[in-house]
Symmetry: C2
Subunit: 480 residues, 2 copies
């Protein structure tokens, strides 16, 4: 075949000059072989990631969810007017003479589209998949432009707050199960938030914009948020101050009672509905034994447009000592109720109430990866159980016959792709890769109809009749 | 935690025995809620798909592969000049003021880019992920614009044909394991193909174009391919006829020997190299016990530019009776050797020889899904083990406390999200969903400190002390 080497090297040079141009992004350690804000996941990283995903999916299955998958891209119109201020972060595909398409921004909108499209009225589903957002990549915080989401949602008309409580229970089970340390789930309700804005004197046309500002309270101070509200979003200073009084409140059931008595809030129908639901929610959370993990927090807003009721966000609690040396990971799980989204896709506007949660596995992954690095723990990236070795030359044929038998018996086995490897090289490979067993075949063994079975750790060797080898290996593996 | 291994294997076996039945027609509803050529995967489809993927990944792990992941999109330049005539099928992202990006077209090019970028000289990796191609969607053939690929590749300089033989062994293990019926793997070598074109009198500048034509031989007749070569690609008719003599040859080791003696081919150095390697390959395939599944086929060309040595493609063999009523699925697995691709990404052109395979899981999925539909077999889409029920009103609190205990013990449990559901509704739900066990709590049980445990199939009920409930459920589940 002709070589493309030279032609390609030229393309490479032009690429390299492009990459050297200054960009506004955070500098990534790796060479710019691929798009900024994206990354490959190495085998070590995949092992950690798969353990996290197994745990998360195991929890979703424990709660009776079915698995769904949707395409990576949607018709562009399906994603418009769903994400508020964040819509600018949607990746569009080039118009190559077909439909206008966008990469999905989350897994919630595709789920709602699926329900409407298939006229599904009830469904408990989970979805593990990548989503894409054109954000400035701040990789130290574990934020990428391509990242994995794990979503669990319950769609359907049910008695109030039972599915909502289950979503919070799931978040607690996952965060406890992953042993990430102490955590807290902030809870609020969009109706309480809207009611609060109304009684503070915010005009309804500014609700979304002000919500977006409040949503920044976990990243910037109240003073900066207040400044944004007044200077950029045109709110009267006294209105902002009234909001300030509320958004600094957080607590448990007693705060709900307090807000029921609040002179302004108690005049707002929406807020009262939200407070009533939160009260019921806390009742169920107590039965689930997780009430002490939940904090009613009037500053929680959640950026996305589609929420209509209860909203929540889990944050990890760190001791000051930990905080200094560890990642600032922000929220690790979040979600809420979105009763209007499915109706937006239905030609007749039929609604399907939904509530759900999303696990921020990338951030969790960043924490666990760092922990493993710090501990110096070695991770096996293969599961190979047996290595097929020989001490002699010209034994490739016997090795191939033998390994084929092992594979056919379902045993995970490897050999070196070399006609005449040295025995020491073969044994070193096993030690390096953490392979527990070696089977050794040589002239003597062949003559006697046996195979030597060696434990890599103890270095003990026993001769085993060839016909008993598979059974003996399976016995050893089941014991270990 | 109880083990479900055995039961799972049995369920899978029964699923497969159903699948072996001849298949009927496929009927897919046209939808316009999302992009043409893409689709959602329903929970039923996801169950089948995950079983296939588990089986495929299990085989990759058995052969000692590590898992890798790469981003959905690459820098556009990374994908150019890799795919020959198919390059027009690459999806580009819109230029939104950053880099020029394209969705990945396969998993091979990203793997080569990864190796070059990280200066990795040896790696055995697998990758399961979606790829995107702007093809005319021919949905009846199981072709979509978004589809999943399962790739296994061995990178590194090794003794000849050992990794290549392992790739073919893996294809056999997977296709046998999935019980898809009889299959055949066609094998050829790019050097034999190039040598053949050279000795037939094809000018080197036309090698790629003529290869692409030959590649169509599994879809259109030799006459049509000949016409394309002569009329569209400007080949002399006598040259085309010489090609025709070769590409109609297929067979085993004896055909390799025959080609070694061929008056024209034996004059070509490249072809002789390829024939020599194929001979060695067949020796190893015989040791692996799979030689009878492999056919040396001079018509096999494979469309992609990057192959440099042995190439292969697995097809399912159908009896004429089956072929009439079933899907035309084409090849279900393919791959080959690409020794130059990594060097195209390396600034200094350093080469890393590679060989690999890709499993066409979408087509396999289409076959198995159709067989299940035909068999009328019902697939469970959840794994719920226990349902928490009550015969009485006002028992939501007790149900929530009880189900929380089950979840915390790792038991997969559900309840109805209703304050006062009817007992019959609850039992019907279990039957409908295939949930094996029900725990029932009512006033009487609460008073006596017991829970009723009911088998959904036998309808037998026993009272169990509340404190023994979890242990009893775990015992029952481990027995079933």
């Amino acid at each position: 075949m002709p070589s493309f080497g030279l032609r390609h090297r030229r393309a490479w040079a032009s690429l390299f000059s492009q990459l050297l141009r200054p960009s506004g992004f955070v500098c990534i350690r790796e060479v710019h072989f691929h798009s900024q804000g994206t990354r490959d996941l190495s085998p070590q990283q995949m092992v950690i990631r798969e353990k996290i995903l197994d745990m998360v999916v195991g929890c979703f299955k424990r709660h009776g969810a079915k698995r769904l998958d949707t395409p990576a891209f949607e018709l562009k119109e399906m994603l418009t007017e769903k994400y508020g201020e964040d819509s600018g972060l949607i990746y569009d595909l080039k118009d190559q003479g077909g439909e206008l398409l966008s990469l999905r921004y989350d897994l919630t909108v595709p789920f709602a589209r699926y329900l409407a499209m298939n006229k599904v009225k009830r469904m408990k589903r989970y979805h593990v998949g990548k989503v894409w957002r054109r954000e400035s990549p701040t990789i130290v915080q574990g934020r990428y432009r391509e990242f994995c989401q794990c979503d669990f949602d319950i769609a359907g008309q049910f008695d109030p707050m039972i599915p909502d409580a289950e979503c919070l229970k799931i978040m607690c089970e996952i965060l406890s199960g992953l042993q990430l340390g102490d955590f807290l789930i902030k809870v609020n309700d969009r109706r309480i938030l809207d009611g609060m804005l109304a009684v503070c004197g915010v005009p309804e046309s500014k609700f979304h914009a002000i919500c977006s500002s409040i949503d920044k309270l976990d990243k910037i101070s109240w003073n900066d948020v207040r400044h944004e509200m007044v200077a950029k979003k045109g709110l009267a200073p006294e209105v902002a101050d009234r909001i300030g009084d509320y958004v600094q409140c957080h607590g448990g059931v007693s705060l709900i009672e307090e807000m029921f008595q609040d002179s302004r809030l108690s005049q707002n129908k929406q807020a009262l509905e939200g407070l009533g639901d939160l009260k019921l929610l806390f009742e169920y959370l107590t039965l689930f034994g997780i009430a002490e993990k939940i904090s009613f927090d009037l500053s929680l807003a959640r950026g996305l447009d589609y929420y209509t009721g209860v909203i929540y966000e889990a944050v990890l609690l760190q001791t000051p000592a930990q905080a200094e040396e560890s990642l600032n990971v922000g929220s690790v799980a979040a979600g809420g109720r979105y009763d209007g989204l499915v109706g937006m896709f239905d030609p007749k506007g039929h609604k399907v109430p939904c509530v759900g949660l999303s696990i921020g596995v990338e951030r969790i992954f960043a924490i666990l990866e760092q922990r493993i690095k710090t501990s110096g723990q070695k991770i096996r990236t293969t599961e190979t159980q047996v290595f097929v070795a020989t001490p002699q030359n010209n034994f490739l044929q016997e090795r191939l016959k033998l390994i084929s038998e092992l594979w056919d018996a379902g045993i995970k086995a490897e050999l070196l792709y070399k006609n005449n490897p040295k025995l020491l090289t073969q044994l070193h490979y096993c030690e390096h890769m953490g392979i527990p067993l070696v089977v050794i075949i040589g002239e003597q063994e062949l003559k006697e109809g046996v195979i030597k079975l060696r434990s890599v750790v103890s270095r003990e060797e026993v001769a085993i009749k060839r016909e008993n080898l598979v059974a003996e290996i399976q016995k050893r593996l089941s014991e270990s």
